[in-house]
Amino acid sequence: MNIGFELIRKMLAPWLKEASLMLKLGLAIVITIIALSITAPLLTQYSPIIKVGDALRPPSTKHLMGTNNLGYDMFSRILYGGRTVLTVVVSATLLSMCIGVPLGLISGYYGRIVDRIFSIIMDSMYAFPSLILALAIAAVLGPSMVNAIIAIAVVYIPTYFRMVRGQTLSIKSLLYVEAAKAIGARDLRIIIKHILPNLLPTIIVVFTMNIADAILTEAGLSFLGFSVPPPTPDWGADLRAGHEYLLAGYWWLVAFPGFMIMLLAAGFALVGEGLNDILSLRGAEKR
């Protein structure tokens, strides 16, 4: 037993600093974008779905990000587009979390045949290309915001399920759960008091990482024309619309929406990575 040496090996002090830096940067990006889209009406006087000027004008002081082929102001489309993206993505990931987590808990805790069936379904879905799966669902349901939410939610249920199931399995065999059994605690108490709280940090990390991924899937869906129908402002759809004018060199039609997608996804990914590092380093020091 060499615990002392091990402990010191795990005290990863300088690395916590980097993790919290990533977390702060990510949070700054995410909060800024959320704030911008909430306060959109204060920041721009233009409606995103009304012709407000000449078509295909480059960025100017009047139209910060130029205008598109229909003469809509790109800047206000970006701001309001953020609302669409965040609404779809956050509702979808919350939905898949609410379904995936309980299923994973049941599957992991009780095991046996229920676990077999759930696992094989979830594993198959997980291995399948997410965008194509979402595409199939969205295509059947038809393009609308609710349908996009459903399509994305279905795609990410396995992410939560697999993580929660795996963790439940390993926590279930830990001594403190055994100890709870030995004092006579019932299953429900064990799941809620002993397993779920220990899962929460991981769930939060997966949730933020998942949002980042869902942003890209939503953008993919709307780029391919299966998310919110026009003229609702949406970054992926705007990118698609702008693609047609690319050869003519109207760069502002594509540069801004795509950049926003990247920025928002990167923001959430940074938050996820930072949280993950901090939690695992803290965990290592606590042991």
Binding site: I121, M125, A127, S130, A139, V140, L224, V254, M262
Partner: protein, 338 residues
């Protein structure tokens, strides 16, 4: 070796329920979910007779269980149905027409991503928690967050529109392939086989931007993965033990890389799905005539059987790749073969 053979057989058999489940999921999504696919795809305004006719052609007017049995039996026979439009060709034939383009793109994209990913990940892992590492971590996050069509369009703008040095769409200049018979459908390979180096060159030129786009975006995930595994392996006892035996850092790194590669390989199977997702978007951006553009086009034209066939094909494709990866895994790791 007998144990290895058993493992391969068992693992192959285990693919069957997975494929079966996937097929069922596809069936449920396309038919049992609220709203029927034909109406959804044609639109509510289409004349009812037209919808009825399409349903009958696709066999959708029968009860669900009959449809399900027919569907599964058809796939077992290798019958993916016939297209509803354009000469009613067998779906499988159409898929096979478009498959090589996708494979060529994914192979090159994969190569780009794995090269970038391995190098950046290893460097980040070895130099972990230095400035180099921080930079590479940021790179991996940004690369991961890049939206493929956007990166593709930026490349098109720079290299196609402004610099005009690279083609921005398609697989090859149309004039070149007149009178040229492909062998495998992979243009680079066929060009080499038939000695048409002008075709090889031209195909490669067309490949640069799409595969760079796909590769860079995917490399982010690999950087992260390789880095995490390297850090993990480098902190293990046997690395310290190898240093204690006086092995040179290069040899120590070799031990580390070999061990770090195993979990990476497992992840590659799952990454393959991401690769395909990426390919669909890349194809759309670069008008690449592969499976992705094919699928989208048929969705637009409501070619229902083709849509189903293509998705089923993707399902089987993914399962087979995962199978191959798992077998490779067993070949590399002696512990699997108990």
């Amino acid at each position: 070796m007998a144990a290895l053979r058993t493992y391969i057989i068992v693992r192959t058999l285990m693919t069957i329920p997975i494929v079966f489940t996937l097929l069922t999921i596809v069936f449920i999504i396309l038919r049992v979910m609220p709203g029927d696919p034909i109406t959804a795809m044609v639109g509510m305004k289409a004349p009812p007779e037209y919808i009825e006719r399409l349903k009958e052609e696709a066999g959708l007017n029968k009860p669900y269980h009959v449809q399900y049995v027919n569907y599964i039996l058809g796939i077992i026979r290798g019958d993916f149905g016939r297209s509803l439009i354009w000469g009613k060709r067998p779906v499988l034939a159409e898929i096979l027409d478009h498959l090589p383009a996708t494979i060529e793109l994914t192979i090159f994209g994969f190569i780009v991503s794995i090269i970038i990913g391995l190098i950046t990940g290893t460097v980040a892992g070895v130099k972990c928690y230095t400035k180099v590492d921080t930079t590479l971590r940021l790179y991996s996050i940004i690369a991961y967050a890049l939206f493929i069509p956007w990166l593709g369009m930026m490349f098109q703008l720079i290299f196609g529109v402004y610099l005009k040095i690279l083609p921005i769409g398609g697989r090859i200049d149309p004039g070149l392939t007149v009178g040229w018979n492909t062998v495998t459908g992979l243009y680079v390979l066929d060009g080499i086989i038939t000695g048409r180096y002008d075709i090889v060159l031209n195909a490669l030129q067309h490949l640069i931007l799409p595969s760079l786009t796909l590769g860079i975006v995917l490399s982010g995930a690999y950087t992260r993965l390789v880095r995490a595994n390297m850090i993990d392996v480098l902190s293990q006892d046997f690395i310290r033990a190898a240093r204690a035996r006086g092995l040179s850092e290069l040899k120590v790194l070799r031990h580390a890389l070999k061990n770090a590669f195993i979990p990476i390989l497992t992840m590659m199977g799952l990454q393959f799905a991401i690769l395909l997702t990426g390919a669909v978007l890349t194809e759309t951006t670069f008008s690449w005539p592969g499976m992705g553009t094919f699928l989208l086009e048929r969705i637009k034209y409501v070619d229902y059987t083709t849509i189903q066939g293509t998705i089923v094909f993707f399902a089987i494709f993914v399962s087979v790749v995962n199978l191959v990866v798992d077998i490779l895994y067993a070949l590399i790791d002696p512990r699997i073969r108990y």
